[in-house]
């Protein structure tokens, strides 16, 4: 329908998540109409990100140097490691400003159905990091899904007796009304309820 290069651009764009054929066409024509600097800037950014960004050699978070910024930061508490599934999970935890330790990004969760075994994740690397003696506590922050829970259980098994192992609690979102909570979350929050400390 369109000249070859345009068709190619459209089909490449349509492969992006959340982008259908229609949106891909709109984006392609936007790029065509844009001036050279803008369009080539996008191409350049894609190239740069693929060339320069890799995984941190320590924690496997995204990094544009051998070590990520968090691992380089001297003020971080090196006795604490938070284990997450994906690099994108680091960001929300960082945003809390509450966590001052390091991270370990597994690169996914165990899922035999999808052929993902412990060897496919950075689990051996985590065990190695923990065995050098500086780490006191490992926080398992994998997702509260079947695969995330099993991954947490597997890691807990491997690290048992070496360090303190903790798991993120699950419960209600803060600031939201109970009336909007779904039954499963509310049920979990109820079974994990805590006593209110007394006045003294």
């Amino acid at each position: 329908m369109y000249p070859g290069p345009i068709e190619r651009l459209i089909s490449e764009l349509a492969r992006l998540p959340g982008i259908g054929q229609r949106t891909a066409q709109r984006l392609a024509f936007h790029i065509l109409r844009a001036d050279d600097a803008e369009a080539l800037g996008l191409a350049d950014a894609i190239q740069e990100v693929k060339e320069k960004v890799g995984l941190c050699e320590v924690c496997f978070n995204l990094a544009d140097e051998p070590r990520c910024r968090i691992c380089q930061d001297e003020r971080r508490d090196r006795s604490l490691i938070c284990v997450v599934e994906e690099p994108s999970d680091v960001i929300p935890i960082e945003r809390t400003g509450e966590y001052r330790g390091l991270y370990h990004v597994l690169g996914g969760a165990l899922s035999p159905i999808d052929g993902i075994d412990p060897d496919d994740l950075k689990i051996a690397e985590l065990v190695r990091r923990v065995s050098d003696g500086t780490v006191n506590e490992v926080v398992l922050a994998t997702n509260p899904t079947t695969t995330g829970e099993a991954t947490a259980l597997h890691i807990a098994e491997l690290l048992r007796d070496r360090v303190t192992i903790t798991r993120l609690a699950s419960g209600l979102p803060v600031g939201a009304d109970l009336e909007h909570a779904d039954e499963v979350t509310l049920g979990r929050a109820l079974s994990g309820r805590q006593s209110v400390p007394g006045p003294h």
Partner: protein, 393 residues
């Protein structure tokens, strides 16, 4: 709108839910039909093949998203139509909610509650369902999987917060089975089996507990309902779990003990996915030894028990869809059934071939060749008459 129209002094529950209107388009033999419904018993009557059961199926689809008759939902699209569509207006107290189910020939399916995808969040806006269809006898006489699924649906209706238990167990089971297969084929090491067994055990113990508590709530009601339906012997409903483990560590240890056998077979041979819900009369299994009549009675008693338990726990009676239950009951039992249905308020849709089969329905709707008609029966218009039906109290 409350149970008082129908229940004859029955206590009115706080969150009364009722179906106020059903609109059906291109659904089996119902081309374009609209029904208004009230609380209490509504009788749909008409000859065989008129479309009575189709009305029940349409309601079931809009409420639950699943057909109670077929796995291939595409066969519900009328022959000359491109799309089947069911809209149900539910009143929860005074507030109306719209449920919509549609499917087109391309297989695009929608199930919406108030315009949003129907998920667990809106479970509270959908009345619980209890369905009796003659094909549902498979529930009593078929393999245990059907009874487990039914029991788990009842768990979800009784405690929506526990609806996740079955799915969580199913996911963990599928993962462990996949891992067993991969280990057997030499594609993976068994290192993570411990972790999957712990996850499976934790989900399994939770699921088994749900089932145990659900059956404990049902069993006494089942016995008394069966007795009222004329069963002379002791009727018993029993949860027969494959594992008696009450703590995750116990079940995990049991799974570990089965690991070698499971690896050889490539699937999990122990756990709640092999539980049985045993139904027996006078100590004999209804599944194996029950007559056709006993199996029908057992199914009906199970429905009544569930309705009672739901009424007790949630103060909201489930909507009952009863297809052709009257034909095999004698007049005494029919009266008993009608009395049972009226208690506690709520709604029931029944089908029958003759209007006389139910003494005192709140409304009777005649169904003829795919259209629903005015009642009372004496004032029936000719076949193919007005599409709109109303209801005489």
């Amino acid at each position: 709108m409350s149970g008082s129209d129908a229940g004859g002094g029955a206590p009115t529950s706080t969150v009364d839910m009722c179906i106020a209107r059903v609109r059906v388009l291109g659904f089996r033999n119902l081309v374009a039909q609209e029904l208004e419904l009230r609380d209490g018993l509504t009788l749909l009557w008409g000859p065989n093949g008129a479309g009575k059961t189709n009305v029940l199926e349409a309601v079931c689809l809009a409420l639950s998203g699943h057909s109670c008759r077929t796995r291939n939902e595409r066969e519900t699209i009328a022959f000359d139509q491109t799309m089947a569509r069911v809209e149900v207006e539910v009143r929860r107290g005074a507030e109306p909610h719209q449920l919509l189910w549609s499917l087109n020939r391309a297989g695009e399916r929608r199930h919406l509650v108030d315009g949003k995808d129907a998920g667990t969040e809106q479970l509270g806006l959908r009345p619980a369902l209890a369905i009796f269809l003659p094909d549902r006898l498979a529930l009593v006489k078929g393999p245990p999987a059907g009874r487990r699924a039914h029991l788990d649906r009842f768990v979800a209706a009784l405690w929506p917060g526990r609806a996740e238990a079955r799915r969580r167990y199913g996911r963990a089971l599928a993962q462990r089975n996949a891992l067993l297969g991969r280990v057997r084929a030499g594609a993976a090491s068994g290192d993570s089996l411990d972790a999957w067994e712990e996850e499976l055990a934790s989900a399994g113990v939770e699921l088994a507990l749900c089932r145990r508590e659900a059956v404990a709530a049902l069993a006494p009601e089942f016995g008394s309902a069966a007795a009222e339906l004329g069963v002379a012997e002791d009727a018993e409903l029993r949860h027969e779990p494959r594992s008696d483990a009450s703590r995750p560590e116990q079940l995990a240890a049991e799974l570990r003990a089965c690991r070698e056998r499971d690896l050889a077979r490539g699937h999990t041979t122990h756990g709640p996915h092999l539980d049985e819900l045993a139904i027996s009369l006078g100590g004999r299994s209804v599944r194996r030894f029950g007559s056709q009549g006993e199996q029908r009675t057992a199914l009906l008693a199970l429905l009544f028990a569930e309705r009672r338990a739901l009424l007790e726990a949630r103060q909201t009676p489930p909507l009952l869809l009863l297809d052709d239950v009257m034909s095999e009951l004698d007049p005494d039992r029919r009266a008993l059934l009608a009395g049972r249905l009226a208690e506690g308020g709520g709604q029931a849709l029944l089908t029958a071939t003759e209007p006389e089969q139910l003494d005192c329905p709140s409304a009777a709707i005649a169904v003829r060749r795919g259209s629903v008609c005015w009642s009372p029966p004496a004032a029936l218009p000719s076949p193919g008459g007005p599409a709109r039906a109303s209801v005489a109290a």
